[in-house]
Amino acid sequence: MADGWQLFLESFWPIVVGGLTGTIPLALASFAIGLVLALAVALMRLSKNRVVSGIARFYISVIRGTPLLVQLFVIFYGMPSIGIVLDPWPSAIIAFSLNVGGYAAEVIRAAILSVPKGQWEAGYTIGMSPGTALRRIILPQAARVSVPPLSNTFISLVKDTSLASLILVTELFRVAENIAAFSGQFMLIYLEAALIYWLFCLVLSSGQSMLEKRLDRYVAQ
């Protein structure tokens, strides 16, 4: 067991580095891009235009309905057959952003729908365009409802980035696998990786609490 302890200590830093150079930048970049995409898709889905909302529906359905692994495969290994060859990192960011776009779109749509209709009307009545009303009146209120589910999406993403090793991106879990393969101590190393993921997620989701607290200030307790 002393042996296990030493292995644990020796592998800690390499795994953390894998997280800092792979997992975290990949998750942050993809989530940021994915959120913008998701807002657009959510608005499209809410559109009264059948074609527009149909496109959004289809996108959401395909993204949510198929495994992320296959999405990564298609972008990295499938697209070269139609002449598009992307490097691992761009491929990974595109795939994860598209993925977040599909899931987060549904969360944002639900949150927008949860704001009472009277709020849109009050916005229109003071002369706002739908865009301004959305931005100034609806989204700030929708944010309150959507922070916890979006944080689910984000934290899932942090761990899903481990799939990026399939397309040659080295991240936290890949480093752990390397160590596990060498030592054969997969249980110990996987637990260690889990611990490190957890530490990262603690930091990241402290953002959730802060955001929630901030957004709750205008609500009766």
Partner: protein, 298 residues
């Protein structure tokens, strides 16, 4: 804050300049144009059904510049629906609305979004249910329209808003959130929010319903002053005393039609319709057995 804000310029129906043209630092309660008695808004044959329920069955309405039109009538008679139609929040099934210098809408055909927005742009509404923005403080609620939509400089908007809040006794609630306000306080904020826009047409939906009687007097006094200053407005109210004094025209609605219309003196003293008479009767002596209501001290 620049005029090229993409969120604003993206809307073809937006013409801020037409809406508010006041001098910076001027009296916040001055209307944006001088009354001249020309027709500002004409609605003809407005119909609206919700499912099988025919809520408006051909409503005609004419509002002249500087005029105060008061809508009265029993609960469910369609008063709110009329206001909402005038403001473009409800799309009537049929009828026409003409707004002077702006859109001319015929609801027989589908209406372009831009025209609905133009309609809305020219008026401001006080909702029966307040609809304050819960995530903004009182002052933020009030300056949102002037600053974001009309591009009034923020310090000026705040000064004007503060003056208005002061006037309705809410100076000390400036930085409170709506959930921290009593019902009457919320309603006053709703009124101030509309006034701050200085719209061409003010639509009030029972602006005094949640107010205590003392404030009712206060708020009606403000509205009456606005009327005197030449603001144009359509008011749904149950305060007949107010209607009598401030209205240029009173419309009595029931069951989705205008049963009777005319000058307040005529409606309140010589209603021609039996239905109006009954309504007024019931109102003016609700539980009264004796008629003297004033305290000795006056």
């Amino acid at each position: 804050m620049s005029r090229s804000d993409p969120n604003n310029s993206g809307d073809p129906g937006r013409r801020d300049d037409e809406r508010r043209a006041d001098v910076p630092g001027g009296d916040p309660l001055a209307p944006s144009e001088t009354p001249d008695d020309s027709v500002l808004l004409t609605a003809r044959g407005i119909r609206k059904s919700f499912g099988d329920n025919e809520v408006l069955r051909s409503i005609d309405l004419e509002v002249r510049r500087g005029e105060v039109v008061v809508l009265i009538g029993p609960s469910g008679s369609g008063k709110t629906t009329v206001l909402r139609s005038l403001n473009g929040l409800e799309t009537p099934d049929a009828g026409t609305i003409d707004f002077e210098g702006g859109p001319s809408l015929d609801f027989a055909a589908p209406i372009a979004k831009a025209s609905r927005f133009a309609l809305r742009d020219r008026s401001a509404m006080v909702f029966q249910q307040h609809n304050l923005f819960p995530h903004m403080t009182v002052i933020e609620n009030v300056i949102e329209g002037p600053v974001r939509v009309q591009r009034v400089p923020k310090p000026q908007a705040i000064a004007e808003a503060s003056a208005l809040l002061d006037r309705v006794g809410l100076a000390d609630k400036r930085d409170a959130y709506p959930f921290e306000l009593s019902g009457g306080q919320q309603q006053r904020v709703g009124i101030v929010r509309a006034l701050a826009l200085k719209p061409r047409l003010l639509l009030f939906d029972e602006p005094t319903s949640a107010l205590d009687p003392e404030l009712v007097g206060e708020v009606l006094q403000v509205i009456k002053e606005l009327a005197d200053e030449g603001w144009t407005m359509v008011v749904v109210t149950h305060e007949l005393g107010f209607a009598r004094q401030a209205a240029d025209e009173v419309l009595f609605m029931d069951g989705g039609v205008v049963v009777e219309r005319g000058a307040p003196a005529q409606i309140f003293t010589k209603p021609t319709e039996e239905r109006t008479r009954r309504f007024l009767d019931r109102i003016l002596r609700p539980l009264d057995e004796d008629g003297s209501d004033s305290p000795d001290s006056t």
